[in-house]
Symmetry: C2
Subunit: 415 residues, 2 copies
């Protein structure tokens, strides 16, 4: 046990912990004999246990004080669990259909007990690699993003509530610094943790490091990430943070949550769908050329943004006389002006989303943490071809994002 | 006395307070008989006492829990004194030549003891009305703004230090809300506190309330004010917050301080110089047509920005290998890129400053709190003419600010 009361659990001590914690044991019907426990933390940071009993189940997630995939040489505050639990609760309150319920949080132990997303739930990224279509994905993700972002922005909150929340989440600064490093900095310089599909992409990675225009743009995006407290964002909304079945979509792992720019969430999700798109040629085989699936991904990208835009502005219209202090009714409740204001807001949000989406794509190809979409392509030459196409698209997107008025125009540049 | 230990001092209880406070009495050489005490709070919010003894002097500033110029019907947290004292100390540390020394702060009493800026120091606004040239003004104000803004931004601070400070100043939210209301909202709607030089400007005020383009722009500026924690800004940097002599420039009253957009400070100062410029025709008489003085003001506006830009980028160059995490040396220490990055940064900062400057001008003509520059013009028709020219210039500036590449181009539109 550490001086602060923290101790890393294992499968045995976990059972003792659950026994001593009514909020958890009650979810298992207080029947703790013969529990099935499986450690499944395949992410980069934490330990995750699935606990299944005869009459119930749950997941235990414990943060440890370093980055699991790197080791103790890269320390990372376990306080991230506190912000993850808070964000799960706040986002869950705003969008219960797409956020798993939290049963228990222990700050000393950096431990969250929450709903087990039972089979056939799988990580969306794995479904995309397998070529599975999720007909509700755009509908559900646009719902999640519209609700979580709108209701935590100044379009709905008063300045007083907003600044209080901003202040609180400033405490998640170590996690923000990690994002700054791995998304906005490392890919643009020589860094010990960077890697790429070598030697195929060595020149491409070098070109990123020497691209002044790109570095100008990424500086602006980084400044927005660091300075702009627009809404309570998930902070890591890639396709590995979403679990799906054909009729369920659940967003997990908001430990990077803080008040930041909305476009960072939207961009993360869209950017990772684009990564999936570009990886598909590497997964095509004689049985499935993936052409129809690629089309489905692009349609899903379009629908996600377009539905998001529609739902977000619908919430705005519904709450235009509400507590939000950004656009006071006495000034902006003139239908023509309201339309102008929303059009400008959504256009800027699209630019931000495309910029951040591009940054998230680039970092997955030449930065430290890659994605299974590409990594699972065995043939390195084929993988590099896919990655290069994605990288070139992302570079174009970051530099020219203000030239796109709609998501459909963006998608049209690919087709 | 209030339940929280706060009590409003008067001239008598003030002496007792000083006697009981060594940090203050020592500044008066511990000789407290025959003190000269004068209440001089001509601002909108606080009580300010000048205390002069035989061997020393000081100023006592006490915040009260409402807005003094409105009365108890408009409550306002006296915690603003805490943020004023902090900002005085922090800005004073960064720029001791232009910030008065703080001797003592009492949070319970919302009371600051600080250096008395002895005669011939006067409020800059009064000097501008009198037509006095201050040869060091641009040099000194550019110095103050460059140092206070640079060293509290991510160009110098680490994310960790920055977020900690941002979090702390989120506590000054009531004061931020006041600015939101009186600068970004009230002038654009019917509000009980608004007034203008009536009937002359009635149509002009109505035109502001009906100007969709203007309201689109001011919404964007308001969002930046609420969301963007760029640096520790003074928050109220008009010409009434500066005291001057021919060889001294002192910035006072940072009770609106918080982490906000740099352009809000720069714009406040430049906007108020523009207000002074437009008021000069109202102060011209047979003895002085003010033509030379108007030219001096415009030159001072140009020099303030141009010197600010030079000093700010010089600080940036000096500290480019320093702790700041916005532009890491490994990415941006290529001379050509460094120039590009700085050019873009300063261009955006100029746009922001022009926009906020315009907002500050507009609110002084059709909002609640006007400026003595215009109010002291007795002839209402003449005053309205001056104000209308200022208002039209400000509206143009807010809408077309992105069309100006330099401050000299802005000034040229007047000449």
């Amino acid at each position: 046990m550490e001086a602060d009361g923290f101790r890393t659990l294992d499968e045995k001590s976990l059972v003792e912990y659950i026994k001593a914690t009514p909020a958890l044991s009650s979810k298992l019907g207080n029947q703790l004999d013969g529990l099935q426990i499986k450690e499944v933390g395949d992410g980069n940071l934490n330990f995750v246990y699935i606990v299944v009993g005869s009459t119930g189940s749950l997941v235990i997630k414990q943060a440890i004080p370093y980055i699991r995939c790197i080791g103790e040489t890269w320390p990372m505050t376990k306080e991230r669990a506190y912000f993850e639990a808070r964000a799960l609760k706040e986002h869950g309150h705003l969008c219960p259909d797409h956020v798993p319920e939290v049963y228990h949080f222990d700050r000393t132990m950096s431990l969250i007990g929450m709903r087990y997303l039972e089979p056939p739930h799988i990580i969306l990224r794995k479904g995309l690699i397998a070529g599975v279509e999720y007909p509700l994905l755009a509908e559900n993700m646009s719902d999640y993003m519209a609700k979580t972002l709108f209701f935590t922005s100044l379009l709905y909150l008063s300045t007083t509530e907003h600044k209080r929340a901003v202040s609180e989440y400033c405490g998640n600064v170590e996690i923000c610094r990690l994002t700054e490093q791995v998304v906005f900095s490392d890919p643009y310089k020589v860094s010990q943790y960077n890697h790429c599909t070598s030697p195929y992409l060595d020149h491409d990675a070098e070109a990123v490091r020497n691209d002044n225009d790109l570095k100008l743009e990424v500086a602006e995006l980084k400044a927005m990430f660091c300075e702009r407290a627009q809404a309570l964002i998930h902070g890591d909304l890639h396709t590995g943070s979403v679990m799906v079945t054909s009729d369920s979509t659940q967003v997990i792992d908001p430990e990077f949550a803080f008040y930041g720019p909305m476009g960072f969430d939207i961009g993360a999700f869209l950017g990772n769908l684009f990564l999936s798109f570009f990886s598909q040629d590497g997964h095509a085989d004689q049985g499935n050329d993936r052409r129809a699936y690629k089309k489905w991904i692009l349609t899903t990208i379009e629908e996600t943004w377009n539905l998001f835009e529609k739902k977000f502005t619908t919430l705005w219209n519904e709450h235009k006389d509400g507590p939000g202090e950004a656009y006071l009714p006495d000034i902006y409740n003139n239908p023509k002006l309201q339309l102008l204001v929303q059009k400008k807001y959504m256009e800027n949000l699209l630019y931000d989303s495309l910029g951040f989406g591009a940054a998230k794509m680039i970092r997955r190809i030449v930065g430290v943490a890659h994605v299974e979409d590409f990594e699972s392509i065995q043939d390195a030459g084929k993988r590099a071809d896919c990655e290069r196409k994605a990288l070139n698209f992302a570079k174009m997107l970051m530099k020219e994002r203000r030239g796109f008025k709609t998501i459909n125009e963006v998608v049209a540049t690919i087709q």
